[in-house]
């Protein structure tokens, strides 16, 4: 919760930031079953509930909650095509697999 304040020569604050706003991610951990190994991660505090990922997921493994935000309804259906990654305007979802084929998530 540190505050970063930048001042110019006259002491006027030119930039003030609260680092608690930074890249904090809340992850929707999907309980996996069987041979399914890579959940879809949704960064809920970046998502603006536009519905694009749900509408264009080719396997329809995503669905919308009552408030409009997406959740992974059928994790085993995900084919890691990254359509949701590419179309999301808020960089808030990823169905990508990492190089080893394992789960991809925040660092």
């Amino acid at each position: 919760m540190s505050q970063k304040v930048e001042k110019d020569r006259t002491g006027t604050i030119i930039r003030e930031e609260d680092s608690s706003e930074k890249m904090t991610v809340e992850v929707n951990e999907v309980k996996t079953t069987g041979d399914f190994d890579a959940p879809v991660y949704i960064y809920y505090n970046w998502c603006k509930k536009c519905g694009i990922c749900v509408a264009f997921c080719p396997t329809k493994c995503l669905a919308r909650k009552a408030d409009g935000s997406p959740y992974v309804k059928y994790p085993e259906k995900c084919i890691h095509c990254e359509t949701c990654d590419r179309l999301c305007p808020d960089f808030a979802i990823t169905g990508a697999k990492d190089k080893k084929g394992g789960a991809y998530g925040p660092k």
Binding site: D85, R86, F91
Partner: protein, 279 residues
């Protein structure tokens, strides 16, 4: 085409800026920024060697979020600033992100003359058919009969076709894609960045909150769907019957030729003057 994961995209964002970003829910600006980042990441370029320049507008806020050399300049003047950077640092890769109003209304003169000079830069026009940031006035690309705050009874100004405009002005790489066709757009951005000369991509984009709402285009998914359904690739048009092309916007690369580039010509003149003054 290299797949670039969301984690790499996150690495390109400025972590000291506030996220989620300012754009409205479902606005194509974010999708297009993601695609630009993927195109840059795919090429493994030195980030210090790329500058992104923009004017003013919703789309012109992209340089705020991307961690490159960036310049968020004046409304309509992005290409003028970019010309300055390119002539001073000819090795710099310069990308201009500009709105339809920014590039064709107030900045129309800069656009056509940069195209005429064939100065080496990549212009990405985020074409949402409206002035988004200032509340929805019509722009030179607002379609016939479309509603805007300044055309409540429907717009009757004729529309610019940005691709035709810049082809006429002499641009050497001209293409059109949409925010929905991210793979195609990514490839076009890579090609445009590697093209020596003035390259421009007209990107059909959605402003669901103002343009979409005023013209009853549905929500963000419906507007994305329209980009998919109402556009045709130029390589496919020959095979389609004319009735299937009615009302469709044509995507694709319309021009890709090599012509002498402005900075190179300039350097040649400098060399020539140096030689003659030595004598």
């Amino acid at each position: 085409m290299g797949k670039v994961s969301q984690r790499v995209v996150h690495d390109f964002l400025r972590h000291d800026k506030k996220f989620p970003h300012v754009w409205c829910s479902g606005c194509s600006n974010g999708t297009i920024l993601g695609t630009i980042i993927r195109a840059i990441a795919e090429q493994n370029l030195d980030r210090n060697n790329i500058t992104m320049v923009s004017g003013i507008g919703c789309s012109s806020r992209m340089p705020v979020y991307i961690d490159l050399n960036t310049l968020h300049s004046l409304h309509g003047r992005a290409i003028a600033f970019a010309t300055g950077i390119k002539t001073f640092k000819p090795d710099m890769k310069v990308i201009v992100v500009t709105g339809d109003g920014d590039s064709t209304a107030i900045g129309g003169n800069h656009l056509i003359h940069a195209a005429r000079r064939n100065i080496d830069m990549t212009v990405i026009v985020v074409n949402n058919n409206i002035y988004g940031m200032t509340g929805g006035q019509y722009s030179p690309t607002t379609p016939d009969d479309a509603k805007a705050t300044t055309s409540p009874y429907g717009n009757f100004d004729r529309q610019f076709d940005i691709c035709d405009l810049v082809i006429g002005a002499g641009a050497t790489y001209v293409a059109r894609s949409s925010a929905f066709h991210t793979m195609e757009l990514q490839k076009m951005i890579v090609d445009a960045m590697n093209h020596k000369g003035f390259s421009i991509i007209d990107v059909i984009s959605a402003c669901p909150v103002i343009y979409g709402r005023m013209n009853k285009k549905g929500g963000p998914p419906e507007m994305m769907q329209a980009m998919r359904d109402n556009t045709v690739l130029n390589t496919a048009t020959a095979k389609l019957p004319p009735e299937k092309l009615e009302g469709k916007t044509i995507r694709g690369v319309f021009k890709n030729v090599q012509c002498p580039e402005y900075c190179e010509q300039y350097a040649k003149v400098v060399e020539k003057i140096k030689e003659t003054s030595d004598e």
